[in-house]
Each structure stands twice: as C-alpha cells, then as structure tokens.
Symmetry: C2
Subunit: 648 residues, 2 copies
C-alpha cells in the first residue's frame, strides 16, 4: 500500500483548464469579484499597511488576539492570487501581488522572524504563547501563499523569505538541545511545511512538520509549560481543554475528531501528508480512523463540520443541530484538503464523495452568488433573529442571517478564494498508468499517463445533469486506464466508449476503462441522477422525522422566497412527486426541485401559545414547493431556510 | 378598578394549613431535606463565615462577581426558614436562624450599610457599579428574609437592621439634591421594599421602590454615568445592551418582556406592586402589556422562561428551543410572584392558570424528588452530552444533564425553598365578601370573609384527580361568595353544594357560589381532567409536528427509563389511546400516562450518516409509551427526556 501511495499525483492546476459550467462561472466570479473584494478589505482594515513596520499600529481595545492573525489573511490572499494567475494570467493582478510581496520582504527581521504583530506591536511576547497567538499558523499561510506565488510567477522572493522564516522556526523548535518542544495551537504549518518541502526539496521542512505532528500532545504538555513560563495557571486556559486544539494527547492515540473543527482538519490533512510522505503506518491508521469517525458521526449532509459555536467545533457523535450549526466555511474547506489527501493514501472514491459533498454545499454556501459577501457559519436552517450572538440585544424586529462583506476574524473569505481558484487541481489524479477523473465539469486537461501525453476533455451539465462526455486526444495511441468516478450518490450508471456500452465493474468507486486510446475516442458516463429523499441516521435526533433532498452531489433547501414563511410547518408526503429542472432565471441557471407538499397548520389560532389539539381544525393546505441548491441560499429576499424538511 | 384592587388580600400562610397531598409532601421534603441542605452549603462555601467581617476573606481568582451576590443566598435561606417556621414551628431551626441573624447584625456598618463583599473585601468600590455588582439585589433578598423572619418569630432585630440599610440606601439614591439617580442592575429590591413598607408602614420605602421603578431607563442612563465615573466606556458593557437588565428605556415605554428573565420578572412583580399600591394607571397598563407579551409569545409549556443561555433570558417571540432551553428555575419562580400580584390587580384566573402551570412544572422540576439536588436550567428535552457549557471538553463518553447539590451561583436552590415553604399563601384570596380559591390540595384554612370567620377544608387527589371536596365550618351562618377557580385547562366541570348540582356561570375563571353558608356545608368541584394532546402555536418552529401531553395542570414527558433511548424516533399517532393512572410505585404515587406509539426507525442501518430513503426498510415498531410528570424527570437512571413528542 505504502509503495502505491507515492505514485499518485494530482494533475496540477495549470494542466486543467476549466472552461465553463458550474466551476467555470464560480471561478470567474472568484477572479472578478472575490479576490478584488478581499484585497480592498485587506487595505481598508489596515492589514496591508501592517506590513510596513514603520507605520504606527495601535493595539485594539477589544479582541487583540484576532489582530495577531492578520498576516494569515494576506497569506491566503496571495495564495488565491497565485492559483488564479496560474490559470488566468493577469498582469495588473500580478503587479498588485508583487507589491504586497515587497512589503512582506521588508518586514522580515534579520533573524528570519516574520510577524507584523510581534514585531511592531508586542515584540516582548514573540513565541511566548503558541497555544493562542497563532504565529506558526500565520507562517503556514504565508508559506502556502509563497509556494502558490512562486508556482504562478516563477518569482522566488517570497519563497526565499518564507524559507528563511521556516529555518528560523526550525532553529527554535524541536527535540534537539537548545530548542523548545513547541507546536502551534492552531495547526496549519504542518501541511504548509510539506508544501514547502515539495517545492524546495529541503527535507528539514518535512522533518519539522513531522516533529510538530509527533510532539503534539506529548507529556509534559508544552502548552502547560509555556503557560507557567508566562506566570499563568494552565488551568485558566479559556477553552478549558487541549482537545480544543487537538493537543490533549499524541495524535496517534486520538480516537475521535474533536475540538475546533478547522484546527482539526488542518491537522489531519498535515497528518495525511506526513503519513503519505514517510509511509508511517500508525499515522495512516490514525488518518483512516479519524476520517471514519468524522464522516460517520460528526458531519452535516452539506459537508459542514462542527455543530457548536462555543468551541467552533465538534461536540459528540450524532449531535448535528441545524439552526445553531456552526459549520464554519473554513472547516468544510479543510475537509476538502483532507479528503483530497486521503484519496492519495487510499485511492478510493469514498474520500472524493465527501470532498464533492463539501465543495458543492458547505463550501460554496460560504460565498454569495455575486462573490463579495461571505458566511462564516453555515447553518442548515435559518429563521429571523436567530443569530446566537445577538441574544443580548433582544432585538424584536425581524432580523435574518445574511452574508457580510467581511468579519473581524475574516479567515473564511480568502480561504474560499484560494480553494475556488485552485479547484482545477482537484479534478484528476494519475497513478502509474491510471488516470482518475474525480470531478465533472467542462474542462480540458493535459496529462501524462502510462508514458503518454494525452489531452482529455469533458463536456457536461453536471451537477444539474448526470451525463459526462469525454474526448481523448492523443498524437499517438496511448495505453492507460481511465478511471471514472461513480459517485456514492449514484445508484445506476452506464458507460459507453465510442458509442458502445460497456459493463466494466466499479472498483473502489471508479469504473476502470483500460485500453489503448486513440485520438478522438469518446467516452460517455451517464450517471442516473434522480431526486433522492435522504434519510438521516436514526441517532441524529435533530433530523428525526425529516428528509433532505439531494440530486447528484447537490443538497437542496427550502427558502421562504419560494415557499412563504413558517417552513417548519411544510411537510412532504412520502409519495410526493419530486421534479428536477434547471431554472434558467436563477443564478445563471441552476437545478431546482419542485413537488407536492402540505402546510400543516391550524385553520385559525387564538392568542394562546398552547391549545388542546382537539379544539383545533387543521387545514393541511396543499402547496407546490420549490427547493433550490443549498449553496445558493440567502441570495434573494431575506427569509427562512431549511435543509431538513418534515415528512408527512 | 383601582379601588377594587386594594380590597384583595391573600390569606396569609399561617391561616392555611397544608395537610397532605402533592404540596404537603413537597413541603415536608423542603423542610426536612432542602432547607438543611442549603444551610450546609452556606456553611461549606463560606457564605456564613463571610458575615464575620473579622475573618479573612479571599478575592476569588475567577468570577469574583458571583461572590458579590453571596449575601442574597443567606437572605433567601432566612426567608425560607421564616416561611417554614410560620407553619411548622421548630425550635432548633429557629435557633439556627437566630444565630445567622446575630452574625448579620454585627456586620452592619455604622452608616447602615450592609454588604459583606464591599465591606470586607472591596470597600473602595461600594456603590460604584450598580449595573453589575448587585448590592441592592442583596439588600432586597435580606429585606424579604427579614420580613419573613419577623412574621414567623416576632423578632424585630433583622427587620430593624434592614430598615436601617433601606434608610441608608434611601439617603444615597433618589432624585433629591445630593443623591445619585441610581437603581440596581438586578431588580429585586423594588418588590422587597414594598414588603418592608407593608410590614413597617414606612412610606419612604414605598416611595423609594417607586423611585427605582420610575427612574430606571431614564436619560441620561445611570449605568452610562457610573461607568464613566469608573473610567470605563459604557459601550464595553459585557451584555452589550441595557435590555439585558430592562434599563434601556423607562418601564412605561417597554413593549415586550426582554433581557435576563429573572431580572425581568422580579422587576415586573415590583411594577405590579407599585401599580397596585398607588393605583398608577400607566403602570397597570404596562403590567398587563408585558404580561400578555410574555405569556403569549415567550413562555414554555412548562411555565419556563428564557430560551437563551447567553443572556439567561429572552430572545424573541415564538423562539422556544427545547434542548437548549435555559428556563432558569428562578425565572419560573419569579413568574409565580408576578402572576400572583397580577391577580390582585385584575382578579382573573388567567394569571393563576399561568402561576399554576409554572408551579407544577418549571418550578418543581428545579428540585429533585429527595430534595437535595437542583436544576438551574430546565430544558424541555435532554440528551446525553448536551450541556452547552461542556462543548469545550469534547467529552465522548455518555454524559447526562442531572441536578447537582449546589452551583457556583446558587440563586435557584434557596429561591425554590422559600417559594415551597410559602406556597400556603398562594391558595386563597379574599376580596370584600368573596373568597377566591386558587389552588387545590388538601388543606384547612381560617379566613375572614364578608365579616365572618370561617374555616374551609379541601380534600382532593389533585393534580392527579379533578375532584375537589370542600367543607365549610362556621360557628354562625356566613354570607359570602365562594369563588372556585375553574382552571383554563379544564373544559368541563360540575359543581355541587351539599350534593345538589348547580349551574353557576364562570366569571373571569371562577365559578361563584354566593349564599349563606352553614356549618358543615359541602361543595364538590369536579374538574374533567382528560389527557390533553397540547398543540404548539404554529409559529413555534421548534415544536412543529409535535404534541405535549398535559393532564390537569401537569405537563408530562417521556423518559428513557420508561421508553428506551432515541426518543426523537418515538411518534404518537393522532388517534392513540392515552390512559392516565396513578403509579403508586413512583415518587410516592404520581400520575402517569400510558399509550400506544410507534418507533419510526429503519430496520437496519449502514455506517453512513445519510442514506437514500428508498433503500431503507422502516420498521415502525409498536411501543407502549409511559409519560411521567415533567417536574419529576431526572430522578431515576440517567437518560433522554422529551416534553414535545413527535406525532405520526
């Protein structure tokens, strides 16, 4: 198994041209609206100015800790720009990012240290609180930005800066004499260092990443030690437990996904990277064990993760409240990162199924259709006035949960931008003489597989339509296996090659077409895509008596804009006719589902909150409901929303 | 109307002897277990020692503000003891409370000030933060304790101490020159001062209470002014808005019940007191308006108040989550206080209906059957591991929500003890020549009504049975109206006098029997008490598709102990037979409801969290369910609980 692992390689983004379709449109919006909007916010909020250490920077009165994360926002924006420039060169944008890179270069200290807060505002506290202050998290995002910028532009400046910073970190943290045995409270640098290693070939970065993963949670706990060095009682840690940051015990001993969901999945992605790079069997086992726990017990149907606002994370198995779901956009993004890595450990479509679920639902709900407003939390139902952060205000006028332009802690917008900009790299993987096609969307890819350079093109209306047409172009006949993913949601499919239907078996979620391909060969994969009534696991108490509608990978929801308010009273009969169609008037043309439902409400009601049922007449008004893709909710008139709908 | 008001008087506790039955048993437990248990906790936690100002008292490292409320716990315990001694003299207990009173006497400062924290620990901050530091709240509870202690023992010492403290407060706060225009962040002193006025006849205390109510929320806002005096920015108030403490605008302008639920209802009870004492029409209107808003939009079926943990209080109309309900025991207690006062403004049973709903459900759920464990929050459904304060710990083993012996902020246990000890005073009211009987439970009462001294006795199995038998004893024939409450939950009743059925009309919720009563006259009120399937208002999204079971005033719940886990999957058919009976093996004999239900679960399930419904076989296993009174939940094996049950 381990030897297989290292032969799997994603086709790089530059080799995959996304032409149109869902991802084509979302990438255009990301380029034209989201990336510029984030830049404006970086400017407006002082995050770019902060790189100029000569400019006076105030310590904010409230929540200064968030200001300690500022550098990461720039890092993610650079990464988004880097990915975008790789597939869509843009000299003006390149100039803009070059200028930011120059600022960063100048902010690096002679010893390699690079952090605006702990240089300009609070130098005495450098490296004094890894648990809370995110220095390595910032470093990780800057490293990822540097790698993407270098890959896009060939300019090494930022990569060199971050290599020096990584050297600095390596000189201070580790098991060797004179080093501190620290690791970051917010994992992220682990996976970033693996990227830096892969780009530079410098094994010290791989080893440093491995050290961070191995040392985490070892006794004596570093976060206890550094708290005492600060004169604090470790028991005063605001989050009460190092489970919050997955540092309560060594990763190899951890049995369940726990704590802050973004930290968890960044860490697990890093664990998968190291497992894959060094072929460590217990890390591989840990990765699979945590994956199964998370996806079998703690994941929303949208691919959202983390039910609780209190810890921005996990609670316990089957606890998946809808209205109060946190399901941070970043957590679903981190799940995509982890899933993609898991496939490269275990080439099985089950990982890609989850990745796709997160992408089309819990990730893309994080950004508005027009691309300039964002969700941090992605609840699965929404009612006026239900923002749990607003209870204090006791607002009695109607208020709705809506996307906003920015956040005080704006981790999600640039995270989303970098993922959308890099979605190309999630489409294909080559392993030996097998070409895996994971995602379906119009695209053209140049790949080397089984010793041949071929081009493969997809034409499809996916995810609104299940037919995917492939054309192979190759100067010479090419022998390889084309492994087409048959998604877990699909229960019936056909595949034809040059019009001839084949009955190849599905192995690990891929139908494998092995042959010598000639120029112009065509393949059609037809995935049956009926509307599915999805039932929740019987232990998910919050969904009991409800179903969700899913078609293909897309989860649908009811919105008040289409169905009037009091959506909790709308019930869908077990035998209701459910009709999918593409509504060309909606968001450039997206799938919708209509069907028969009933509105279960008394015909009249008194002023009383509670009445004997026998005194009421129930109306059960018939209703034609319309459900839209969850990821597009909250783009029209404000109102209620529900993913899980009552059955009648 | 206003002139009527002042003729209504509750029959004092000393005149009502509760003999047996629900309240007889609960009072015995309160006397024998709860009051001693609270005393032990006051000792153990240092609250009694704190009254000895010579003893060294440490400033706690965390949450010192709670230590500022310590005096109130003693005050409430004294009040509970006072009420108990009135009906059940107990020399040993009286000695115990006398000793505590001596301690308190010695703690009073020469200027009348009386607060252990701001004398022994932080004298520099006396009266510097009325918004958060609860000095007047403590004073109010000590005043209530002093009045009850005096009424029970005839000993004036504590009443004199508290009168001097009230004088001190009166000398510092008010609209006169040289006084500060303050009022407490946590209302309570308002209603306490009215009690002190009624006991002492000193109108300054009434006027001070009226001043607190009138001044609250006036511009410029006092909490702003005092914050600035402390060098703080008022905008830094942790609760973000003075709605939290009902001080955002004058009470006469307030349209909805808002903020911290206990503060709200203590304030509203004080407003009702002042409205009643001075006959202020706009305060009467305010009381009715806030009452209607609260009971028609923001009250749980259990009489619980305040859905949100974040502000321990209200959010917005029809927002009544069950599992995460805060529904603090103190809030339901405060609702009882307010409801009782509202009746004395508007003699209408609708207030007593709510009072009774709170008493039998959301109040009594606050204490365990054995009397030594308490709930702070009273959720309407409960699942393992769902304490929202424990998300950080990410505990994965089973954990259940259970009562505990004490709390860091233990406002609820002594509050409950004082209410249970004083329940006698909630049974009857005399208004002119009308004797109102509000509550039903075996008891004997001596009353003066219409110029005659009579004794009235009740025999009943209420709340498990709807028949109530009254016997009148009177040395001479007595002419008065016996007004028997026909509860709002009752839709059919009969009343007989000396065996003859009458058909008197119900007016304002009371059937009024006017006659000249002779010694030995008997009255039987037979309240039809079927099991009711209670439907929620269609705007309460959290209860959609569910019913609650209620019989008489008692709300029932499903517990795992009787019904196995996964209660969310239990559905009760619309036509299910529902059988009430008294289970003599349970909690000394309480009503239970059994009936037919179905368990709606797939026959088998994969590891997946979500499956297409069409691939599942549903078992719909029949089940005989058993529901127990909500107030007795969590007294057996730990497990799930639900009030709102799915319908099928």
């Amino acid at each position: 198994m381990i030897t297989n692992i290292q032969r799997l390689e994603s086709i790089p983004a530059t080799s995959v041209e996304i032409t149109t379709g869902f991802w084509g449109e979302r990438q255009a919006t990301n380029r034209q609206r989201t990336i510029p909007a984030i830049y404006r916010q970086l400017q407006l909020t002082g995050r770019l100015d902060a790189w100029d250490l000569n400019k006076k920077r105030e310590r904010p009165k409230r929540h200064p800790v968030v200001h300690m994360f500022w550098d990461s926002d720039t890092g993610k924006w650079i990464e988004a720009v880097g990915h975008s420039l790789r597939t869509h060169p843009d000299p003006a944008l390149e100039k803009q990012v070059d200028d930011v890179v120059s600022l960063i270069q100048k902010a690096q200290q002679p010893d390699g240290y690079l952090n605006t807060w702990f240089t300009a505002v609070d130098p005495a506290n450098r490296w004094r609180n890894l648990r809370d202050w995110h220095e390595m998290y910032n470093a990780g995002h800057l490293i990822e930005g540097a790698v993407a910028y270098y890959q896009a532009t060939g300019k090494r400046e930022l990569l060199d800066v971050l290599s020096r910073y990584a050297d600095h970190i390596d000189s201070r943290f580790g098991r060797e004499d004179g080093k501190k045995r620290g690791y970051d409270g917010h994992p992220e640098i682990e996976l970033a260092l693996v990227k830096l290693y892969r780009e530079t070939g410098e094994t010290r970065y791989l080893n440093l990443s491995k050290y961070f993963i191995d040392e985490r949670g070892q006794q004596p706990l570093y976060f206890d030690l550094e708290a005492r060095e600060r004169g604090e009682d470790p028991a005063d840690f605001w989050a009460q437990t190092y489970r919050y940051c997955q540092a309560h015990e060594p990763i190899r001993d951890q049995m369940t996904a726990t704590g802050h969901a973004v930290r968890a999945c960044y860490l697990y992605a890093g664990v998968a990277d190291i497992a894959l790079e060094i072929g460590d069997q217990t890390l591989l086992d840990t990765s699979r064990r945590l994956w199964d726990d998370l996806t079998q017990h703690q994941m929303y149907v949208t691919g959202g993760l983390g039910p609780a606002h209190s810890n921005e994370g996990f609670t316990f198995a089957y606890d998946l409240p809808n209205e109060t779901a946190y399901a941070e956009t970043c957590a679903s993004i981190a799940l995509v990162f982890w899933a993609h890595r898991m496939f490269h450990i275990d080439p099985d479509a089950r990982y890609i199924d989850i990745m796709e679920r997160a992408l089309y639902n819990g990730v893309m709900s994080g950004v508005s259709y027009e691309g300039e407003h964002f969700f941090y939390a992605n609840p699965l139902s929404s009612y006026p006035n239900v923002n749990p952060h607003e209870h204090f205000s006791g607002i009695t006028s109607d208020r709705y949960y809506r996307r906003t332009e920015w956040f005080y802690c704006p981790c999600c917008p640039p995270n989303l931008a970098r993922l959308v900009a890099s979605i190309n790299s999630y489409f294909y993987t080559v392993g030996g003489d097998t070409l895996y096609a994971h995602l379906y969307n119009p695209n053209r890819a140049r790949v080397n597989v089984g010793g041949s350079a071929v081009q493969i093109e997809q034409q499809t209306g996916y995810p609104w339509d299940g037919d995917v047409h492939f054309t192979i172009q190759s100067d010479q006949p090419a022998t390889f296996t084309l492994a087409l993913r048959v998604p877990g949601w699909c229960r019936d499919f056909q595949v034809t090659v040059n019009g001839t239907r084949l009955s190849e078996p599905v192995m690990n979620g891929y139908v494998r077409l092995r042959r010598t391909w000639s120029n112009g060969d065509t393949v059609t994969l037809s995935l049956a895509m009926p509307v599915e009534r999805i039932a929740p696991h019987p232990m998910i108490r919050q969904d009991a008596g409800c179903i969700a509608l899913q078609r293909g990978p897309v989860v649908y929801c009811l919105e008040e804009a289409d169905n009037w308010p009091q959506l909790a009273n709308v019930a869908i009969p077990r035998d209701a006719r459910l009709t999918p169609e593409v509504d060309s008037s909606l968001f450039g043309g997206v799938g919708v589902i209509t069907g028969d439902a009933v509105r279960v409400e008394p015909a009249s009601w008194s002023n009383n909150l509670y009445e004997p049922q026998s005194t009421l007449q129930y109306a059960n008004t018939p209703l034609i409901f319309k459900a839209i893709p969850y990821c597009f909710w909250a783009n029209r008139e404000p109102g209620e929303m529900r993913v899980w709908m009552r059955e009648s």
